[in-house]
Symmetry: D2
Subunit: 270 residues, 4 copies
């Protein structure tokens, strides 16, 4: 890491992020929910299911940055209101993406954690804006970004005064096509060497295949990650986006059992 | 190109973009100038030099999206005013980058062409905003983006009502480290098959080495590109950014002689 | 996986490879040892150390395919004889690389498992030759190879009549430079879906950093791999090759303790 | 280029390779022919056609390194005999691939230039063997290889005593899927800075699309390459391999007209 004068690098104590009763940076935090908020029914039913299976927070997109301008772009404010209702029902804090610097302040009224998506990792105007927000930021790695560039983006947020940054590895783009992206699991121990910020894994986007999510989640625990963010939908076959990488509640529940056991094992192992 | 319903794909007639007296999409258009506007003297001297050597437009950054928050971020409005002066001195239209959707309308008062940088290619809020602007847009390819994703980003702009989109290949990220990026020269004939939009090449960012810029520019003409955008500084060793990839006026002038001859040869060749 | 008519794909029962008393494909197999055989003392002392720490097999290169023709190329026959001695001392079966089709038959007299290195993954003459050998083959993935191409190379060996193929993921080449390669951990569950062959991980070459090997090895167990192959040297700072990615006996021993515990945990978890 | 002590780098005079009356390293050399030798009729008819269009040498594979063991592997000795006949008919020297170190001496009796394919670039046993051969070697770049690694492979051959090495850029593997590989055109001026060896381009494998071959060939001339190697078949739709990237004789003839004109223009330009 040449030429960096990171606040991220300078401090020595591990950053722990508090979101209501949830803690990121101690134990293993599980964020789960649908790719996008499609309706009140879908969102609340999914929220109840992931809560029951032991998830710590609810994810769900109201603004969807889509490759094509003609694809579903999210429900916007209506989606945020649905998320708020889901939080009232379940108590789960909300993680949701913000994609425009003009939206940061009012989206913060609905979101407990602001997500910066992979395509916006180097959207510096947006980073500056969330650096001023009073909400923790989940910063996804760009699909073409080095660890050094990623940490510099965290630095944009820290430099703005917001100390609550959570890094999220979500797979990088390589030549391999069997998986949607290539999960860079080494980023977990690498970041543990380089920064005090917590690191979580998104096995759903990394693999693009529901059948691989379980193994990758277990690997994330064992590699020392601080959590995962997983796509779950009460009925994946009806999901508007990311159908193939989304777990149903039963699959998620089964996986959660194993994850919690492994989490305990790893704690004993340290 | 599966699943695209491109306006870019649908139309059959080649798009020609007019910027004052300059035409992009007929003949070979050369845009030259410094990476960033550093001072009035540097900018105007460089502008005069590239004009004399035969450049068609002036490039220069007033807003610099930099990897590190602590690096030079550009002069902002002051830089735009310098560019305006350089235009008054030389008559060269101005190509300059915009990085925030909130800046599009006022930056348009200074810019003749709005540049969207590689890191912002999928900044959809920004694309929507320039789609509403009355200025042509130079859309750089993301360093990790497929041709299909790039055309979809053009579509965001076209869909907003702005028909004047110029595509700019600037190298993609690969494992090779001798060059800064890998120039995807095949993108030129590929895009000629796929779209009616003009395509230019940025050999400076693609290679990261001034010594390679001449050969890559000649290859761009021969491959059928509609132009190039090149970094030139009156004194590259003093440039704040991109020193190693920047030509001095003499090198640029020598290259322009060859390019204009090859341009004529290619016209006869069709 | 289009257009493959794999023996690897066709059969349904999991392949278990037996090497003396060692079993690959049941439980978690650990292969450890120096990158290259440098001397009798270095090799035997390292062999004793890894045996003591619980390794199942000894690795060590007598033929080294090196980027430069002027780099150390291995001790050849002399190295194989040293490996044989190390086996006599410790009882550990020997895994060693073969790089020339003309060497397969006589190297087989010293090797218990023939390793095909990443650079030779598509050396089809060599694959044909080890396909005729009576030794299990550890087939490393090419650093630029898709899973599909890799399975096709396994097929070359299986097609020659040798059923004992062990796949070894050792990192793929990407743009990231913090690690030497990028470990594709998803290849483990992906291959479990696609083939009946056992899959092991090489965390040393994947990361290029000794400090990351422990976490990646734990992740390998949790992801469902059948083993690992790790570089260990009695004194890494004196190693001729791969110094930075090599563990010393103490580090290896500490890691082995955790691995064996996790292995047991995972067995209970199924 | 760190840590290289290249013969390739040391010498200052440009290497010119002579193959009968053909010269590589002065002017622009065109090698054309089918991917593989399929029959006497196909090969000789294609040879006559490419000769008539102005090609300098004939390419054709008798040994085909194929991804799958069940794909057509080439005619072997029979293919070499057909190539010999094609040479007798047309006078064109033969460029053909060798894939096994045991074959080098006898294949040299049929080949005027020995080709090392991309998959074998780091097959060091094979490089050592062609280093001892009395035939020029066309060394293709590995699809995942850096320029530095490639030059080191040339060094293996030079170190063996064979000074006649021709480098061939054939596209590298990236995330882009519109083209089969990504032609690294910058490798041409980069290699001109680094080595005295001639450099040619393979636009057929680089693009995988016949429609792009013409533009890429023109770009190769303009970038300063010493030649191209192109796939031509008298009837591409009947070709066993690489159908989609193969030109028919008419397309090749049309392209050759433009290439020879551009070659002359570029000579005047220096």
């Amino acid at each position: 890491m040449k030429n960096m004068r990171h606040t991220a690098l300078k401090e020595h104590e591990k950053t722990v992020v508090y979101v209501g009763d949830v803690v990121i940076g101690e134990g293993f935090c599980v964020i789960a929910g649908p790719c996008s908020v499609e309706s009140e029914k879908q969102t609340i039913e999914t929220a109840i299911a992931v809560k029951k299976a032991g998830a710590d927070m609810l994810r769900g997109g109201a603004f969807k940055p889509r490759t094509s301008p003609y694809a579903f772009q999210g429900l916007g404010l209506k989606g945020l209101k649905i998320l708020k209702k889901a939080k009232e029902e379940t108590g789960l804090p909300i993680v949701t993406e913000v994609i425009d610097p003009r939206d940061v302040s009012w989206v913060s009224e609905y979101a407990d954690v602001l997500q910066i998506g992979a395509r916006n990792m180097q959207n510096f105007s947006l980073l500056r804006e969330v650096g001023k927000a009073r909400r923790p930021v989940l910063l996804k790695r760009g699909m073409n970004s080095t660890i050094e560039e990623w940490l510099n983006c965290a630095e944009y947020i820290l430099d703005g005064g917001n100390r609550d940054v959570i890094l999220c590895e979500r797979g990088i783009r390589t030549f391999e096509t069997y998986t949607r992206n290539t999960l860079d699991i080494s980023a977990v121990p690498a970041l543990k060497e380089l920064t005090h910020l917590p690191v979580i894994i998104d096995p759903s986007h990394a693999s693009g295949k529901a059948s691989l999510v379980g193994s990758l989640s277990m690997a994330s625990v064992a590699a020392g990650a601080d959590g995962i963010i997983v796509e779950v939908h009460k009925n994946p076959s009806e999901a508007i986006c990311d159908r193939e990488q989304t777990l149903n509640p039963d699959e998620f529940s089964l996986m959660m059992g194993k994850i919690r056991m492994l989490e305990k094992f790893m704690e004993g192992c340290r």
